[in-house]
Amino acid sequence: MQASIQLPDDPKLRYLLRIGDTCLILAQRLGEWCGHGPIIEEDIALSNMALDLIGQARGVLTLAGDQCPQDYDEDQLAFLREERDYLNATMAELPRGDFAFTVLRNLMLATWLKLSWERLRESQDSELAAIAAKALKEARYHQQHAADWLVRLGDGTAESRRRVEAALAQLWPYAAELFEADAVDAAAVASGLGPSVAQLREPWLAEISAVFGEVNLPLPAEGRFRSTGRQGVHSEHMGYILAEMQHLQRAFPGGAW
């Protein structure tokens, strides 16, 4: 059995993991559609987006590994951490649900990531800025794809509309976490590493509202629930997804093919 790695307590590392892990875990969820898409074009599209996200996660996790005295690599970070050391937004880890749920989650997270990458292009960390410049181009395609489908489903049949509304009711409580800033964000702003997530809230709401407005989907009211994945405290679904992701590296340490 491969022992879990230990992470130093470092705000830059945490900032990077919040981005990289959100990409990584969302990619894992999107990858679950491979072979299960409602039509082959969507099967391919969702797998393609998963691949982009894995690529982005690789870049960010490699950079995160450089912040650790043990100089971890991307694979050690992806496969050998304990659950509480993953800092993805909880929304990314929720089970894939139906196609409407996947589309709406993609819209919310692709918009969030796109707005993040836009600002991260100006990062004082030149490697992060380079990753962001590339990822931004990809995230635009992801957001566009999700927006197209959200409109199609929201304006489609009574059944597709019902599913969009059900997905929105399920997902909306997890959106608040995306903009909850803390000391990690403050340190990133102070050092010029990147924006505080609080700065993303207004542009995010504006873009999401524009898409929702196309199909007369009202923005739900904000409730008091706060998910805490970005603090490392996850939903009950996280352990299962990690078990699936980590099984091979834990059972066959260093296994490669």
Binding site: N48, D52, K134, Y141, A210
Partner: protein
Amino acid sequence: MNAVADATRVQQAWAVLGAVPDPEVPAISLCELGIVRDVREHGAALEVVLTPTYSGCPATEVIERSVVEAIDAAGLGPAQVTMQRAPAWTTDWISDDGRRKLREYGIAPPGPADADGAVPIRIVGRRLAPVACPRCGSAHTERLSAFGSTACKALWRCLACREPFEHFKPL
């Protein structure tokens, strides 16, 4: 004398790389794709600087290997590959020859990248930039899916000759 010899080796390396095909779109070379950013000589070794096309492009490792092998096979090695992310690759770097070869291969080449970069999001009803069918040249085409068999391509079909085709997405 030395400087001339150095330049020759680097120039030869460029010529070699101009014949290394992209593994997923073998109709065009790495140079035509615009991902070879620099070739430098460091003493005995050649350094080839490449830039990735997409963050998650699975061909990246294959490309690195084929570059090292091609340089070795031409007797110009040893070579090492450096991946350089910035500035980010754009389809605008695909050469005119590369575009022509893509079209001949049946892939519609990309239009200018980022033409609408400032528009945050476009909802349905927007007009996609027209893409000409690489087979019959008709502009009477439609997009089937923004994502295709590789990260860099979208699926289209021609409404004139009825053939499906791929479009290299502007990025």
